[in-house]
């Protein structure tokens, strides 16, 4: 295996494909369960979860009661539901039809 590693492309940093799937977090921001593939870096899920929990807690402090948030980016939709201080988070990559650019 060591010999094969010499010929592999292990030095390449793989592109991160955004998966469809979900994960749950506890109130401390730890991932409890996940349907995301292992290829999806845990750090990404942790960062998403951190911002989601920050949003829910900020809303609570501002006396805005929220149980669900939907965050829409150009290429990703995130839906998060509050779960007893934690959250369940759904990732939905958005794919648009090819844009034609004249230059």
């Amino acid at each position: 295996m060591g010999l094969l590693d010499l010929f592999s492309r292990s030095s390449r940093k793989a592109l991160v494909h955004l998966p469809s799937g979900s994960f749950t977090m506890d109130r401390e921001g730890r991932i409890m369960t996940s349907t995301l593939p292992r290829s999806f870096p845990e750090q990404f899920a942790l960062e998403i979860g951190k911002q989601v929990l920050t949003c829910f807690r900020g809303a609570e402090r501002a006396h805005v009661q929220l149980s669900e948030i939907v965050i829409q980016f150009s290429a990703l939709k995130i839906l998060a539901r509050e779960l007893r201080g934690g959250a369940i988070v759904f990732l939905m990559p958005q794919v648009t039809s090819q844009s034609v650019k004249r230059t």
Partner: protein
Amino acid sequence: MLDAEPFNMLIVDLNMPKMDGLQVLSIVRRKHPHVRLVVLTGVRDEQFRTRAYAMGVDQYWIKPESDQEVGLFMESIESLLSREEQGGFRGVQSKSLVDIIQLECLSQASCLLKTSNGLIEGKIWINHGEVTDAEAAGLVAEAAFQRILAWKTGSFEILPADETRERTIMDSYQGLLLNSAQALDEATAQAPSPEATSQATFALADISQWPGVEFAMAVRGRKARDYYGIENPGPVGQWLEETLKNFQELGDYLQVGQLQEVVGSGPKRKIAMATLSGSQICIGFPANVPPEQLRDTFKKILEKWAC
């Protein structure tokens, strides 16, 4: 290399050692907004194409596999570079919309200039170097053109010309730009003094009367907060600012393009938030408003706000 020498174009693969192509695109777009970006990759994945365009690339090419495809690719690259040599434009961030329109018209081009300011879209039709039609926020012709030019920020995309589009603007492009500049100057001169009730407050008061709208808030920096129908503007304004900032940073980190909107739902109400022209907008709706209706109303509100 880009820091050391002035380059016009960067052709980048998505799979590379040390750093992936999306990271490269993100850094180059931020540090060198004038550089044209072309992705040339073997990655046949619509998601990466979408994300690359969301990050502002000019073109996304699958690696050519035949002489014909190589020819098309080279032609496209030469076209991009020749425009640069002819003094063409570049830069969502470095050029104003007026610059772009002038450059298109001066080069006698025909194209459809699609612009967006947050969720709001505008279109300007240019045929043989003349602006022939425009539409934005429910307006058409010259009124739409002036509305688009009033946007302070946004992005644009140049699409193939639609020569069948009926001409509604008869003025020359120079006259049109002059009229629009005058209209903008007059609007700026008529802006109320700080002592008077702000224009934004008037706009929010109007928006708050829309069917289904419970409250409205706009934040521009720490001190400039306008609101209507809201009991605790301080904490809500702070939360609004932090939330939109945090999620935009998350979008940059995940390389998924611009944050378009955030919609929150609770037992008492729903809330929609977005950043538009440097302001953070937050609108409250009843809890039972259907999602489609909320998005439709929010989009119309943003269009009005962009006015």
